[in-house]
């Protein structure tokens, strides 16, 4: 089987699952696809996804277990398609190859087209970032005096950077003099200009 969304050999159960999908009527299929895309758009909501499937199974007099397994197979397609930046056309091709009927494949592909931009953004957003900067706080003030010099008057700026390290965050504190601050600002503007070259 030549598929766009994956180069792997799929287990036979996947084909069977897609053929079983054909057994749902139009309304049921649309609802299942709705549940599917809702999950794809919020991939952290696994509990909710399972719950929706269980409710669906209850409403239509079927067992939840087999339905969940079926949907797991179905999920392979959009997940692979996202990785490979597939178009609606290509995804429809794959669904037909897998045994889904024309009408259902067309509906799925159409939903894919509609949600593609949001799903892409999500996938890009999930791309690994190392030490991602999550927040920045600052305060600035004037040093009025020290133990060594009674009267001083220099401006200082204190920054707190919150950096994500794995699952937790780390705070980095630093102090900048005025010239250092202006240099920092200047360098960040240059970095932004550089980034904008690429868009």
């Amino acid at each position: 089987m030549q598929l766009h969304f994956t180069k792997d050999v799929l287990p036979d159960s996947v084909s069977t699952d897609f053929q079983n999908l054909n057994k749902f009527n139009e309304q049921q299929f649309h609802r299942l696809i709705e549940i599917l895309f809702q999950f794809l758009l919020e991939p952290k909501e696994t509990e909710r996804f399972m719950q929706h499937l269980t409710e669906f199974a209850g409403e239509h007099g079927m067992s939840a277990g087999p339905l969940r397994n079926l949907m797991k197979s179905v999920l392979l397609v959009p997940q692979g398609a996202l990785k490979k930046n597939l178009t609606a056309e290509q995804i429809k091709d794959d669904l037909l190859t897998l045994g889904l009927n024309e009408e259902k494949a067309a509906h799925f592909a159409q939903q894919w087209g509609e949600h593609y931009a949001a799903l892409s953004r999500l996938a890009v957003g999930q791309t690994l970032m190392v030490n991602q900067l999550v927040d920045m706080e600052w305060k600035f003030g004037v040093t009025v005096g020290t133990s060594e010099v009674q009267k001083v008057g220099n401006v200082f700026l204190q920054l707190k950077l919150v950096v994500r390290k794995g699952n937790s965050t780390e705070n980095v504190y630093m102090e900048l003099t005025l010239p250092q601050f202006y240099n920092f600002l200047h360098e960040m503007e240059r970095a932004k200009a550089s980034m904008e070259c690429f868009s």
Binding site: K83, V124, L128, N131, E148, V149, M174, Q180
Partner: protein, 195 residues
């Protein structure tokens, strides 16, 4: 710290009259400002041919005097001369005053840059990368920015490193937000500067 300069300190300072040269006076003044160490006392004792105990007191008194001048920012000859008692050796008084005035600007700059603070930003480097693929999307074209900040802690805790480096990654949105924040800081700073 700026202790008051006592009569006893001035008595100790008169030991400078035993110095072999004006340069020797200058040297001991400058070195005692940093730290009135035992080694300094020993070298001074040798150079001035005075007992080590007296040299130690001299160095300590010099330290107190120079830090007093620094703390109160005594910047005119009159202000410094006024500290000395009437009976103090006149030429020595003028020499010490001259040395203190010469070194004050440097000492002040050093004191201000040495003061306690959070780790100071010493160096900033950045690079912009184009992410062309990842495990979640095999083909993409998203710019990302890496910023490396080198910081130096002027007073590291015992056993701690004084220089630390942090590398952070910023998305385009983060960078925009940061620039927004920095812009606001700049605006606030110009308001303060304008006052």
């Amino acid at each position: 710290m700026a202790a008051a300069v006592s009569g006893e300190d001035f008595t100790n300072l008169q030991l400078l009259l035993k110095a072999p040269s004006k340069d020797a006076v200058r040297d001991v003044c400058v070195q005692s400002h940093r730290a009135p160490s035992r080694r300094l006392a020993e070298t001074t004792a040798a150079a001035f041919s005075i007992p080590a105990a007296q040299a130690a007191q001299l160095v300590q008194s010099l330290h107190i005097l120079s830090h007093h001048v620094l703390f109160y920012n005594l910047s005119s000859p009159e202000q410094i001369l006024a500290l000395f008692p009437e009976s103090f050796h006149s030429s020595l008084k003028n020499l010490i005053t001259k040395i203190l005035l010469e070194n004050s600007p440097t000492w002040r700059t050093e004191a201000v840059s040495d003061q306690i603070s959070l780790p100071q930003l010493k160096e900033l480097d950045w690079r912009v990368d184009m992410v062309t693929g990842s495990d979640s999307v095999s083909r993409m074209s998203v710019p990302t920015c890496l910023v490396q900040l080198k910081m130096e802690d002027p007073c590291p805790s015992a056993g701690g490193e004084s220089v630390s480096t942090v590398t952070v990654e910023l998305s385009r949105e983060s960078l925009d937000t940061i620039l927004d924040g920095l812009g606001r800081i700049r605006d606030q700073l110009s308001v303060v500067a304008g006052k």
